[in-house]
C-alpha cells in the first residue's frame, strides 16, 4: 500500500479541519450522554445525564474525521459527494455532522442550529420517541442504515450507477468487512463503467475492533491486506496514525490523490473512442484507534484503541463521581467554547468549512432518491398481450412475452432502469432484453462471449447479496429496477429484504423523504418447475417471509398466465415504496385470459372465472387457486369433475393479488368481508390450490367467515429432481387429488360419487406409475387443455 508524505494543509487549514472534527466529536459524545447542559455552561452533574446510556462511541471519531475531510474535498473541487456509512452505530457521527453543516435542521426545522436545537439533538438520540442509533432513514444524506452489516459497498455501487458526476465515498467498517455480503461486493468494480457511471471511493476503516474481538483485516499484516485489496482490483492507499496532525495531513493528501485519480480514470474513459477498460480504482485504508480522543483508560483498563470503546466508554457516570469527572474532561477536551458561540451556534470558522448548503452530503438529493426520481416511460402493455380465444387451449411463455415488454422499457429508459440477477436472465427467458442492452462486464472478455459489454444494463453476478445491494442502492437514489431470481434462493436475501422493508416503513413516516421506486422481484424459476434442480431449489417461503413486514410496504402477486403477468409487471414498475413479489413460471403453460379479461382480473386482484364455473351464483363447492401451476391443476380438476359429475356446481376463483385474502383492516389490499364472502361464500367448502406453503392461506384468512370450510393444498416440502406431474402428486396438488378433495368435502357427493372417486384415484396411480417407470409425463397429462369454451 502506498503512503503519501505530502502535507497539503496549511497550518490554518489544519487547525480548521481539526476544529471541525472536534466539534463533531463533541456533538457525538453529547448525544450519547447529555440530557441537559449541552454547552457545559455549568459543571456536569448527574441530572444533566441521560438515565440510560444507549449509544456507541467506538466508530464515531473515525467517521467524523472522514466526514470533515470530505467536506474539504467538496469545497475545493466542487464535487458532488455521497457519504455511505458502513460501520454499525454510526448514528452519532452522522447526526452531529448533518447538524453542523445545516442539513439536519433543514430536514427538522425545530432542531435549530443553536443551544436549544443542540439540546434537542442530544436528547432525541436513542431516546423513547426519538431517533435510533444507526444511520437510519431519519438521517439526511443516508442510504445505508448500518444496523445489519455488510451492505454499504453494494449500496454505494448501486448509487454510483448511471450517475456519472457522483462520487460515493463509502466507509467500510472492519467488522462488516468480515461478512459475506461485504466480501462479495468488493468485485463490484468489474461492473462499474467509468464512462457511464460515477465513482466509488471505498475507505476501509481499520479501527481494529468489533464488539468484543479484534477485526480480522486489522490482524493479517499489511502484506496480506495489500495483496487482498489488489486482488479485488483496487489500488489501496494507507493512512494511519494516532496523532491528529499527521493523520490530517496524510488523509488530505490521500483524498486529493484519490480524487485526482478518479478524475483521470473518468476523463480517459469518457474521451476514449474504444470500449472502456477496467482500471484499478483507488481506495483508502484508514488505520486509526477505535474510540480515538475518548478516555484512554477507565478504571485502570485501556479503553481507547480497544474493543472496550465500542459502546459507552464511561458507563458509571450517574453514580461514580470519577466517571462523571472523566466524562466532563473528555467533553471539555474538545474545547467547545472555541467551537460554539454563546448561543450554541457553530462559530463562523466552522460554518465556512462546511460545503455550500446545496452541496453538503446531508442534502445530497441522491440520498433522498424520490426527489430526483423520474417515472419510467413504459411501452403500451396491451400491445404485448397474446390473443386468447379459448381459455387454456394454447400455451404461452409468460416470461418470454414479458421479456419483449422489458426490452422496450429499456429502450425508453436508457439511464434509469436496470435488471439484476445471479445468472438467470437467459434461463428465465427474458433474453429479448439483449436486443436492447447487453450484460455489464468490465473484466476480461473473449470472442466466445455473448451479450457482454462494459455499458450493459443487465447486471449478473452469482451473489444474490450483491444483486440485491446494487438494486437497493439504485432504488434508494431514485432509479428503477427488477431482480429476477430463483424463488428458493431469494431466501438468501431474506434479511436484506427485512432491512429494506424497515427503511420503507420509516420513510413513509418522514415528510421530507420522497417515495422511491419499488423493489420488484420476478421469481420465475419457482418451486413447481425445478425439473433439473430438485429439492434444494424448491422453497416457496419467501412469500411467507415478506408478508411478515408492514402491510403498507408489501405486495405479493401470482399471475397465472401470460397476460396477467404483463398486467402485473406493468403495474409494479409504476409503483413506489413497495416490495412487490411476483411469482410466475418460465415454462410454457396455458393462457387463460385475453388482455381485457387479464387487465380487469389483475385490477380486482381476485375474481370468479366465469368461463370455468357452472355455479350460477349458488355453488356446491368453490375451487380457488393462486399461482400458475395450481391454477392449471385446478382447471384440470374442474374438467374432470364436470365430465364425471356434471350436476356439481363449481365456482372457480383465481387469486392474483394474494393480499386480497387478508382482512381489509390488516392490509390495504384486503377485500372487505362482504366482497370476500361474495367470492368464497360463507358456508360452502373451498378447495384452495395454492402455490406455496398451504398454511399461509390459513394465516391470511383466519378471520374470514368461511374459514372453517377452507381446505388448502400446496407445497408440503416434498420434491426432488423429477417431472412436473410427479411434483404435484408428491404434494397432493395434482388434478386428481383436488377432484377427490372436492368429493370428500361436498356432503352430497360423499356417498354418491364413490365410484368416481375410485376412478380418479386409479387414474392418479396409473399416471404416476407411468411417470415413475418411464420418466416422462404422460401425453394426456403434459398436453392437457381445459376444454370449456
Amino acid at each position: 500500500m502506498q503512503k503519501l508524505d505530502a502535507r497539503p494543509l496549511t497550518d490554518d487549514e489544519l487547525r480548521g479541519i481539526d476544529a471541525y472534527w472536534r466539534a463533531a466529536n463533541y456533538l457525538s459524545v453529547g448525544q450519547i450522554y447529555l440530557l441537559a447542559n449541552p454547552l457545559l455552561r455549568e459543571p456536569l452533574r448527574p441530572e444533566h445525564l441521560k438515565p440510560r446510556l444507549l449509544g456507541h462511541w467506538g466508530t464515531t471519531p473515525g467517521l467524523n474525521l472522514i466526514y470533515a475531510h470530505l467536506n474539504r474535498v467538496i469545497r475545493q473541487r466542487d464535487r458532488e459527494l455521497l457519504f455511505v456509512t458502513g460501520p454499525g452505530h454510526g448514528g452519532p457521527a452522522l447526526v452531529a455532522n448533518t447538524w453542523l453543516e445545516g442539513s439536519w435542521t433543514a430536514a427538522y426545522p425545530n432542531t435549530t442550529r443553536d443551544e436549544h436545537g443542540m439540546g434537542r439533538l442530544f436528547k432525541q438520540f436513542s431516546f423513547p420517541g426519538g431517533i435510533p442509533s444507526h444511520v437510519a432513514a431519519d438521517v439526511p444524506g443516508s442510504i445505508n442504515e448500518g444496523g445489519e452489516l455488510g451492505y454499504s459497498l453494494s449500496h454505494a455501487y448501486g448509487a454510483a450507477a448511471d450517475n456519472p458526476e457522483l462520487v460515493v465515498a463509502c466507509v467500510v467498517g472492519d467488522g462488516e468487512a468480515e461478512s459475506g455480503p461485504l466480501a462479495a461486493s468488493w468485485p463490484s468494480n468489474k461492473f462499474l463503467d467509468p464512462a457511464r457511471d460515477g465513482a466509488v471511493l471505498p475507505i476501509l476503516h481499520l479501527n481494529g475492533y468489533k464488539i468484543a474481538n479484534p477485526a480480522l483485516l486489522a490482524r493479517i499484516g499489511d502484506e496480506e491486506l495489500t495483496a487482498l485489496l489488489r486482488g479485488y482490483g483496487y489500488e489501496p492507499y494507507l493512512v494511519e496514525g494516532s496523532e491528529p496532525g499527521p493523520v490530517h495531513q496524510a488523509l488530505a493528501a490521500t483524498l486529493d490523490t484519490c480524487l485526482e485519480r478518479i478524475d483521470e480514470i473518468q476523463r480517459e474513459a469518457r474521451s476514449a473512442k474504444g470500449p472502456s477498460v477496467r482500471p484499478a480504482w483507488p481506495m483508502i485504508v484508514l488505520r486509526t484507534p477505535k474510540g480515538w480522543t475518548g478516555p484512554r483508560t477507565v478504571d485502570g483498563e485501556q479503553v481507547e484503541d480497544t474493543w472496550r470503546s465500542h459502546q459507552v466508554p464511561l458507563s458509571g457516570v450517574q453514580t461514580n463521581p470519577d466517571h462523571l469527572r472523566q466524562l466532563e474532561s473528555w467533553l471539555r477536551s474538545y474545547r467547545p467554547e472555541e467551537l460554539f458561540d454563546d448561543q450554541g451556534r457553530p462559530v463562523a470558522e466552522l460554518l465556512e468549512l462546511a460545503p455550500d448548503p446545496a452541496r453538503t452530503m446531508g442534502s445530497n438529493q441522491h440520498a433522498n432518491g424520490g426527489l430526483l426520481s423520474r417515472d419510467l416511460e413504459l411501452p403500451p402493455v396491451e400491445e404485448y398481450a397474446v390473443p386468447v380465444k379459448v381459455p387454456g387451449a394454447e400455451d404461452g411463455e409468460p416470461t418470454k412475452v414479458f421479456g419483449a415488454y422489458l426490452r422496450d422499457a429499456f429502450r425508453l429508459n436508457p439511464d434509469n432502469l436496470r435488471l439484476f440477477g445471479p445468472d438467470e436472465t437467459e434461463s428465465n427467458r427474458l433474453s429479448a432484453v439483449y436486443e436492447e442492452t447487453p450484460k455489464r462486464w468490465l473484466a476480461e472478455r473473449r470472442d466466445t462471449d455473448n451479450h457482454l459489454a462494459p455499458d450493459g444494463r443487465v447486471l449478473e453476478i452469482l451473489s444474490e447479496h450483491t444483486c440485491q445491494g446494487w438494486l437497493e442502492g439504485y432504488l434508494l437514489t431514485g432509479r428503477h429496477g427488477l431482480f429476477s431470481s430463483y424463488e428458493a434462493f431469494v431466501h438468501i436475501v431474506d434479511s436484506m429484504v427485512n432491512q429494506h422493508a424497515k427503511w420503507l416503513k420509516t420513510i413513509n413516516r418522514l415528510d421530507w423523504r420522497r417515495p422511491i421506486p419499488s423493489l420488484n422481484y420476478l421469481l420465475t424459476s419457482h418451486v413447481w418447475r425445478q425439473d433439473h434442480n430438485g429439492f434444494s431449489h424448491q422453497d416457496p417461503g419467501f412469500i411467507d417471509h415478506v408478508v411478515n413486514k408492514k402491510a403498507e410496504v408489501v405486495r405479493v402477486y401470482l399471475p397465472p398466465d401470460t397476460n396477467t403477468l404483463l398486467s402485473t409487471m406493468d403495474h409494479c414498475l409504476r409503483t413506489r415504496n413497495y416490495i412487490n413479489v411476483v411469482v410466475a413460471g418460465k415454462q410454457p403453460q396455458p393462457n387463460w385470459l385475453d388482455w381485457d379479461e387479464a387487465a380487469v382480473h389483475c385490477a380486482r386482484g381476485a375474481g370468479v372465472w366465469d368461463f370455468a364455473s357452472n355455479d350460477e351464483g349458488d355453488p356446491d363447492v368453490v375451487m380457488a387457486c393462486a399461482g400458475d401451476v395450481p391454477t392449471m391443476e385446478t382447471l384440470a380438476a374442474v374438467d374432470l369433475l364436470r365430465e364425471h359429475l356434471p350436476e356439481l356446481r363449481i365456482r372457480v376463483v383465481n387469486v392474483v393479488d394474494l393480499m386480497r385474502l387478508q382482512d381489509a383492516t390488516e392490509h390495504p389490499h384486503g377485500l372487505p368481508d362482504a366482497e370476500y364472502d361474495a367470492l368464497f361464500t360463507t358456508d360452502k367448502p373451498v378447495i384452495f390450490a395454492y402455490h406455496g406453503y398451504p398454511w399461509l392461506i390459513h394465516r391470511l384468512t383466519y378471520r374470514r367467515n368461511g374459514h372453517a370450510n377452507l381446505h388448502v393444498r400446496g407445497y408440503i416440502e416434498e420434491g426432488t429432481t423429477t417431472t412436473p406431474f410427479d411434483m404435484v402428486v408428491r404434494n397432493n396438488l395434482d388434478r386428481y387429488h383436488l377432484a377427490m378433495d372436492v368429493i370428500d368435502r361436498v356432503p352430497s357427493l360423499r356417498s354418491r360419487a364413490v365410484s368416481t372417486r375410485q376412478y380418479f384415484a386409479g387414474q392418479r396411480t396409473r399416471h404416476h406409475a407411468h411417470v415413475t417407470r418411464f420418466g416422462e409425463d404422460l401425453p394426456e397429462v403434459r398436453s392437457w387443455r381445459w376444454s370449456a369454451g
Copy 2:
C-alpha cells in the same frame, strides 16, 4: 502462483489414472442420457435414451479428474481424505466415482457393480423416484449438496475441526466463488489450528463459466487472482491445461507438494513447544475447460470450454440423428470396452486404483457423522438451577446461568463441542465459557487482547454465514455445537437453514445414514430487548421461517426464565436430527419456576401455571404466554387484574415448546385436541401474549376448537432504540393493554369494568409519558414483581 514442472507419474500410472478418469466420465454421461444399453453393446438408438434429459455435464469432468487424483493420494500416503464438492450439479461425478470405488454399492446393495447395477445407476439419476442431480445426502461421502451455492469451504473447515488426521479436499466452483458466503469463508484459515485440527485443501476449479456467463475469477488475470488468494492467506499452486497428459502430471505433482506441505505444517505445529503460528496453507487453482472431453462443437457452435456445456450439451438426441451419433461417439471416446469387463464390472486395473474399501472417500465415516458421533457428556443440569421461592420475586440472568453449565459441558467434552457466533458470546452473557476455553484466533494477537488463543473452542467471526457453515460442517461430521446470535440477524442464514433442514429430512429416509447432532440456536438478543440497537435489530420472524420446514426436523422453544432455559438447553444438546431454535433473553428478568417445576413444565411443553391462576378449573379467561417478555407482561397484567377485579377467574397458560400448539397430526410435538382443549378451553376468550409475529399463533392453532376465541398480541413491526417499556407499549403487548384486552373480551366485564379499564388506560398513558419524557422506565415498571405466593 507457482506451477510445478515435475512429472511424478510413470507411464503406467498415467495410463491408469487417465483410464480411471475416462471410466468416471463415461459413467457420468451415461447417467445423464441412458435408460438402457449401458455398456453400448448395440448401436445407440433413441429408445435407449431418457425421455427427459435432466443433468449437468459442465462441471463433471473436472470433479472426476480431481477425484481420480485424490484416490492416488490416498493410496500412496494412506491419508484419510474427505471430498467436499462445491460446484453445483456435481451429482453425476460423485455418483459415478462412488460406484466405481464400491461405496455406492455398499450403501445401496441393489445397485451392484456390474451391468445390471450400472443400468440402475444410470436410470435412477434425475428420474422420478430416483436421486437428485446434486451431491445430496443420497451420495455416500457427501456433506455438501451444492444446490444452493457457497457453503463448501465453510463446511470443509467445520469438518476438519478437531479431526487432526483428516484432510478435507474442497473443490470450490468458480461460480460459487462469487457468492458472499464463499467469499467470507476463505479467511477460515485464521480459525484452523494446525495442531488440533485437520487440514483443508481448497481446489478452486476455474472452468471459466456459469450458466450463461463467464466466471469472474477466471477473468481477472493471474496477477490479481494470485494477489487475492495470497491476501486470503493461502499459497496457491496453478494447474492448467486442456491436454490430459500434462494436466495429469501437473496435478499429481501439485497434490504431492500440497500434501507434503500440509504434513510439514502439521508436524511443525504439533512438535513445537510454543503456540501455533499461522502458516500460509497450500491451495490449488485448477484451470481446465468446462465440459472437457465432451462435444467440442454442436450444431456449429462451440460447446466445450464455454457456458454451453453447462447442462446437457446434446439436447436433441431423441429426434436429431446427428446428435444421437455425436452422443454415441462421445460415449465411445472413453473406450468403455477397456474399462468394464463383459459383466459390466470395472476392470481389475481400475479397481486397483481405488483406495481400500475402508479408505475410499465415499465410505469416509466423517461424511456419515452419526456413525462416529459420541453423545455429549453433560453436567447434571439441576446443579445449576437457581432457587425460586416466590415466583417472580427475584431476577435471574438466564443466559449467564446457562453459561456456567456450558462451561462445564466444554470441560467434559474437550474435542467434540464448539460454540459459534458473530461476536456475541460476551454480550450474550455466556462468558463463563472462557473459564474453560478461549476464543479461537490464529491471526495476529496483541497484549490487550482477551480470551484469544489458537486452540479455543469458541469461534467468532462477523459472518453469520461462516458461523453457520462451520457449525454445519462440524455437525455433519458428528460433533456438537451451538450457534448464539441476534434473533433478527439469524435471518441472514435463512436459506442455509432451509438447506440443512432439507438435508435432515433426506437422511431420515436413508437407512445407511445415521442421525447427527442437532443444529442448536440460542437467540438471546431478541426483538424485545434491543434497547441499544433499535428497529433494524428487531425481527422475530426466524421462528416463522423454520416452522415452514418439515415438522419432523423443527423444534422451537421459548423458555421464560432461568431454570426453563437450563432444562431446554440440556434437552436440545442431547437430541439428534433436529433444528432446535431457542429464544431466551439475556437481560435480568424474573425467575418463575424452581427446578422441579421447570423440568416438569419443559417436559410438558405447555401447562397451566397454578401459582398465577385462580380459575379453579373454570376460567373466565385464559391468559396464555410464550416468551420471556410476554410472560412477564402477562403475569403483570394478571397482577393488575387480580388486584382490581378479584372476582375474575384467570387461568395462566405458559407455552415453552411452541410446537405443542399445532395439531398432533401436523407435528410430532402437537398436543392432542383433548389436551389442548383442557388447557385453553373450547369456549373461553384466550388472550395470548406471544414473543413474535402474532399471526404465527393463528397459523399454528387454526384447526383448534377454540380458535375463534383466540386473541393474540405480539410484535407488529414497531420499534426503535428505546426502553423496554416503550417497546411493549408500541406493540400493544404491555401489561395494561393485555389487562384491557381481557376486559374487552370477557363479556361479563365489558360493562361492569368500565372504570377499571379507564384506570388501566390512564396508567398506561401516564407511565408511557414518563418514559418518553425522561428516558427511563418507571421504577414500578422496571422493578415490578408478581406478588402472588
